[in-house]
Amino acid sequence: MSFDLSFVVLQLLNGLTNAMFIFLIASGLSIIFGVLGVLNFAHGSLYMLGAYATYQCVSLFVDSPGQFWWAVIAASVAVALLGGIIERLLLRRLYHQEELNQLLLTYALVLVLGDLARFIWGVDQLSVSRPAVLRGAVEILGQYFPKYNVFILFLGPCVAFLFWFFMLRTRWGRMVRAAALDRETLGALGVNVDRLFTVVFMIGSWFGALGGALVAPVITIRPGMDVEIIINAFIVVVIGGLGSFWGTFLGALIVGPVYALGILVFPRLSMIFIYVIMVVVLMTRPWGLLGRPLQR
């Protein structure tokens, strides 16, 4: 094993790229928990459907310029719409029930959506090629780093910033934040909270699907990617704080590099490290590094 600096730097960059992917996915999970109070196991399934739908759209839009980008947009929007349907038809009816039932409903969706994907796309591994502009690599300290990863490294903070701006400065953003704090009062002020919840769930689903769509060119798309990612997303939102947006960003920035660098030092223990961080955070600050204690 070599430990020269350029190699470590490259591994760090890889870890940060993964952090950006997981941030996109986990931010959707976090906002859904923050506003709706539902821990959504099916979020991993929406991520998986985002990846599959991107594969599908890329093959549909073949020969058109910018096919990958159109595919990403179409796939993530389609999954967001599916999220809206799920919220309206199913999840909505369980808000007044105990947490266990909501948890189990979202797990039922994991089973149903997972099989739906298997039914439509089969069990083979699928792949999406990178968009033409982002093929190839840049040289960093004598090592090659894919251009696509550079793009993701820039995109992650941009999305984070835009979303933060949306939450802070727009009317919808204010309503979402208000709903997270006190949904009854918001309703009494004349806001249609039901519709707001649907929109929030769609935004959350869109983030999950966007993560899946953008990760499609760098992984193989296959059944089982849903149950793997969801635990990682849970870890990130728990570390950062359930419902805390910047907490999710911080959580991703911790988990991605720790995993990537940990694998260099202790290849076998890297995965365990991350779970241990989750346990330690839950023990010492159950509401996460940047979250606030739950008052409900």
Partner: protein, 308 residues
């Protein structure tokens, strides 16, 4: 003896007669049901009786599997000694993990149990030299005195019956009443001078003990063990069994395990899309039968009696 006890004895005798029919299929299925029924019952000591949602019970089942399998295959112990030790491995793990988990409540409790179970899974998955990693451990044979599926079925029936008897004694004892009081109102229980965390921890340990017993039974029944047995979807599946049967009745989880495993056996012979069907059943259950199967039947009986 009460009427319920007579019914239970009759069911036990009927189950004991199943091998006489000569159906290997039913012997296999019933052994499976008994094992997972015990697993679900032990989860329900926490869920239905103490009001704690554990999303990491795969850990104790998996520890049971690996404790039993490794003691036989790696330590070369006889089945009897290995199996007898299995429960204590589960209880010890539950003591350590539960010690931390009972400090948290509700969703945080569920997340912490999940995190710990994933640690157990990661250790099993990565510790190749001991556990065989992803390939698991094979050729865990039936011991000499239980060298057929039928004999192993009787052994399972005996172990599960004794365990069920003990669990039933526990929930009907003053200790069990305290657990239910904690479930209904932890704050008030604290006010009357009961150490809530201690009782939650004790329930956690007992639950871990019996989950590991079911894991040990399963390791030998299945002849092989894999890290997947500790992976989080197993925790979800046993939760489904429990609420399918009904978490507010003692035998509910056993009924849930029976129905789920029977359906899985039937459905998978027609289609590979069993998860889709299970997911659909679960959704219907949550919307239309929130009390589970046993809860639904009890309600129907009540209505029928009151209409008479």
């Amino acid at each position: 003896m009460s009427r319920q006890n007579w019914i239970l004895i009759a069911i036990l005798v009927l189950m004991g007669l199943i091998p006489v029919t000569g159906s290997r299929y039913y012997v296999f299925l019933l052994t499976d049901i008994l094992i997972f029924g015990l697993f679900a019952l032990s989860l329900n000591l926490l869920l239905g009786y103490t009001g704690l949602v554990s999303f990491g019970h795969a850990a104790y089942f998996g520890i049971g599997c690996y404790a039993c399998g490794l003691l036989i295959k790696k330590a070369g112990l006889s089945f009897g000694i290995a199996f007898a030790a299995t429960g204590f491995f589960g209880a010890a793990a539950a003591l350590i993990i539960g010690f931390f988990c009972v400090r948290l409540t509700r969703i945080y409790f569920a997340l912490l149990t999940l995190a710990f179970s994933q640690i157990v899974w990661a250790i099993v998955f990565k510790w190749n030299s001991l556990t065989g990693g992803d390939t698991g451990i094979y050729d865990i044979n039936f011991p000499k005195f239980l060298d057929s599926r039928t004999k192993y079925f009787y052994f399972t029936l005996a172990v599960v019956s004794i365990s069920v008897l003990i669990l039933r004694k526990i929930v009907n004892s003053p200790f069990g009443r305290i657990l239910m009081t904690i479930r209904d109102n932890p704050e008030r229980t604290e006010f009357i001078g009961i150490n809530v965390k201690l009782f939650q921890l004790l329930a956690f340990i007992i639950s871990g003990f019996f989950s590991a017993i079911s894991g040990g039974l399963f390791a030998v029944f299945n002849h092989s063990i894999f890290p997947d047995f500790c992976y989080w979807p197993v925790s979800a599946e046993v939760l489904i069994m429990t609420i399918l049967g009904g978490m507010y009745s003692f035998f509910g989880p056993l009924v849930g395990a029976a129905v789920l495993l029977y359906l899985r056996m039937e459905v998978t012979s027609y289609t590979v899309y069993w998860p889709f069907i299970l997911g659909t059943i679960l959704i219907l259950l949550l919307f239309f039968f929130p009390g589970g199967i046993v809860g639904f039947i009890e309600n129907q009986i009540k209505r029928w009696r009151s209409s008479k």
